[in-house]
């Protein structure tokens, strides 16, 4: 399979009055074409900042550090001009945001918001664009699409709004779709419907998806590859099989055990004591060391380089390294 996206040594920091917050610290990974890759982590781990960097949406006070590279099909997109970005966003790469209500414009009807994008990027008539819009709404499973085109965001339920967001993201057939917590604000039943719909479209069109989420449950039946982030670092990545059944990083292990399972009756939940570190002043060693049960002296001194366990399964942990 081809690599569609390659992130190399990406660092992003935010200059705030409280100091430099290092949201993403020197991370590298690759996304295979046609796969669903999940980036998993808790709030503040840098998963959303990573996805925004891929979309070129890091704005002041955020800075993408020099030396960071993101290749989309061998082109370094971080060197793009604003014109090139505009072409890239929407046609090659598109994004679904978490909060559909704030992401949609409340003063424009849905039709206008979908066709706007088509009219900017393609030379088609308004009528054709409108037809295309209807087709997109039908694709994401919105009934009465022609009538719904004329309605405003407030007339849609939360689940339907998120479908509209996905429809907008999918117009122009992007090669890469980034979904940033697409179902977090929704009820479980609606979440299941939307994930099913996305899965269907993904299979049909062979689209590449990056799914950003904190919920390992929704990843289980959706993603082929998983990247686990913690405190701005990629701590483990591998196939879904690797991560769920052979987690190598204590953080991944703990994360899997901290969620109660519907099909298991557990007595007490295992907890990860403490809280993630302050990113304005991240620890020099492994950022998880302070909360890790298997901590060794070396963990607090240096961040471990990644080690490959089996093909495709990489982890950054001293436990796995022999040079500790």
């Amino acid at each position: 399979m081809d690599t569609i996206l390659k992130v190399e040594n990406l660092s992003v920091l935010f200059r705030t009055y409280a100091g430099e917050v290092q949201a993403v610290r020197d991370i590298s990974f690759e996304i295979e074409e046609g796969n669903v890759t999940a980036i998993v982590g808790e709030s503040g781990c840098g998963k959303s900042v990573t996805s925004r960097s891929i979309m070129g949406l890091i704005k002041k006070p955020g800075i993408v550090s020099e030396g960071s590279k993101i290749f989309f099909r061998d082109e370094n997109i971080l060197a793009y001009t604003e014109k090139q970005w505009e072409k890239y966003r929407g046609q090659k790469c598109s994004m679904v945001f978490q909060d559909a209500l704030t992401a949609l414009n409340p003063t424009m009807n849905i039709g206008k918001q979908i066709t706007e994008k088509i009219l900017v990027h393609r030379k088609v008539s308004k009528k054709e664009a409108w037809q295309e819009g209807i087709r997109m709404l039908e694709l994401v499973g919105i009934p009465n699409a022609a009538m719904r085109m004329k309605q405003y965001p407030h007339e849609f339920s939360g689940g339907m709004r998120q479908r509209v967001m996905i429809a907008i993201a999918l117009t122009l057939n992007p090669e890469l779709l980034i979904a940033d917590e697409p179902t977090t604000a929704l009820d479980v039943t609606i979440q299941a419907d939307i994930l099913e719909m996305m899965k269907g479209i993904q299979k049909e069109q062979g689209m590449t998806i990056i799914l950003i989420t904190h919920d390992l449950g929704i990843v289980a039946n959706f993603a082929q590859d998983i990247i686990v982030m913690y405190a701005g670092k990629v701590v483990e990545k591998g196939s879904s099989e690797d991560i769920f059944y052979h987690p190598a990083h204590p953080y991944t292990e703990a994360l899997l055990r901290a969620v109660p399972r519907l099909d298991v009756m557990e007595e007490t939940l295992e907890t990860i004591e403490g809280a993630p570190p302050n990113m304005a002043n991240p620890p020099t060693g492994c950022p998880f060391a302070a909360r890790c049960r298997k901590k060794m002296p070396v963990c607090e001194q240096r961040f471990p380089d990644k080690i490959t366990l089996v093909e495709g399964h990489e982890v950054c942990c001293w436990l796995q390294r022999e040079d500790k």
Binding site: E42, S43, S157, G158, G159, M160, D187, V188, T189, I190, Q191, A192, L195, E196, H214, D215, L216, G217, I218, V219, A220, N221, S240, E241, F244, A254, L255, L256, A258, V259, P260, R261, L262, D263, M265, E266, T268, L269, E270, T271, I272, E273, A275
Partner: protein, 326 residues
């Protein structure tokens, strides 16, 4: 020591309607009856807008009721006045969903927690109050010195601990936990749930645990009540609910929950519901779930099912569940 079967809270036909505009009534809670035993945890689940939060708040008289009755230790909570009412507010506390909005940003943590102690005159000197607050902070897993700080200095999980300390300050026996963990990260959620469980064991607390996360509710509750559009659909022990759910809505809800295990997830069969939750202003006739139920028959559209016992500790409101079992 009170008998394990003592009913602490008894709710009979409780209704809470909100008037919204001209001749429109939102029936948030519509004729529900249930009870909570002393020392147990009753989980309340349902999709957004099902009335679970309104139900919790009406039960502890934060809202006036529209109809029905809520009895706490045999006293109608909506009729309590004066000294009785004061005593009730000391026995009953609530932990809110949003740890950012429910704590006053202008008050020090010390003052937030001490407020209840002062108003119920539970300590005589300032020193005693400070000592109590420090003890409470330690109980919920925070540092005793945090009392001098303001709320903005704390993370979400720490704030929720402060909220719990505030609730515990007046030594209540019954706490309504209104989605106390939904705003928190997974690794922090487990910490808070374990804390609540530990406190329950130590202090013999009774919880009404409101949440939309069924897997967490299963974990913490003794019994679970499933609500849909202001009605109770099913109420049973947490084990029964997950092993043999009877109501089609419960089954659909359960089957929608993702399980963090790809092999299990692959084999899972989903029970699909049609469409979305209808508006509670204009609920469907008959059974409220009728228009989304895959098994609905004509009877469901005409007659509203009542909560019926199917076995010990298991009540279901459905016309079809008997036929479906066969």
């Amino acid at each position: 020591m009170a008998n394990k079967d003592t009913k602490l809270l008894e709710v009979y036909g409780l209704k809470k309607y909100f008037e919204i505009g001209k001749q429109k009534t939102l029936k948030a809670v519509d004729d529900v009856s249930f009870y909570i035993r002393k020392g147990e945890t009753l989980g309340v689940v349902g999709e957004s807008g099902c009335g679970k939060t309104t139900c919790g708040r009406t039960c502890i008289a934060l809202y006036e009721k529209t109809g029905g009755q809520v009895m706490y230790r045999g006293e109608d909570v909506h009729l309590m006045k004066g000294e009785k009412r004061r005593k009730f507010t000391k026995q009953v506390q609530i932990i809110f969903q949003d740890p950012y909005a429910s704590l006053d940003p202008k008050m020090k943590v010390q003052e937030i927690i001490a407020e209840g102690i002062r108003s119920h005159e539970m300590a005589e000197t300032e020193d005693e109050i400070r000592k109590r607050v420090e003890d409470l902070l330690v109980t919920v897993g925070l540092d005793a010195s945090y009392g001098n700080r303001f709320v903005h200095e704390f993370s979400g999980g720490q704030r929720q601990r402060i909220g719990i300390a505030r609730a515990l300050a007046v030594e209540p026996e019954f706490i309504v936990c209104d989605e106390p963990i939904s705003a928190l990260d997974v690794s922090i959620q487990a910490q808070i749930v374990n804390l609540l469980e530990r406190l329950q064991k130590k202090r013999g607390l009774t919880y009404m645990f409101i949440a939309h996360d069924l897997s967490m509710v299963k974990h913490i509750s003794d019994r679970v009540m499933v609500m849909y559009l202001g009605k109770i659909m099913e109420i049973t022990t947490s084990e029964n609910l997950y092993l043999k759910p009877e109501h089609p809505y419960t089954q659909a809800l359960l089957s929608a929950i993702p399980i963090p295990d790809p092999h299990v997830e692959e084999k899972k069969v989903r029970i699909r519901m049609e469409g979305e939750v209808p508006s509670p202003v204009n609920p469907p006739a008959g059974c409220r779930f009728q228009n989304r139920c895959p098994y609905a028959i004509e009877k469901c559209q005409i007659e509203e099912p009542v909560l019926k016992k199917v076995e010990d500790e298991h009540f279901v409101a459905c016309h079809r569940c008997k036929d479906l079992k066969k």
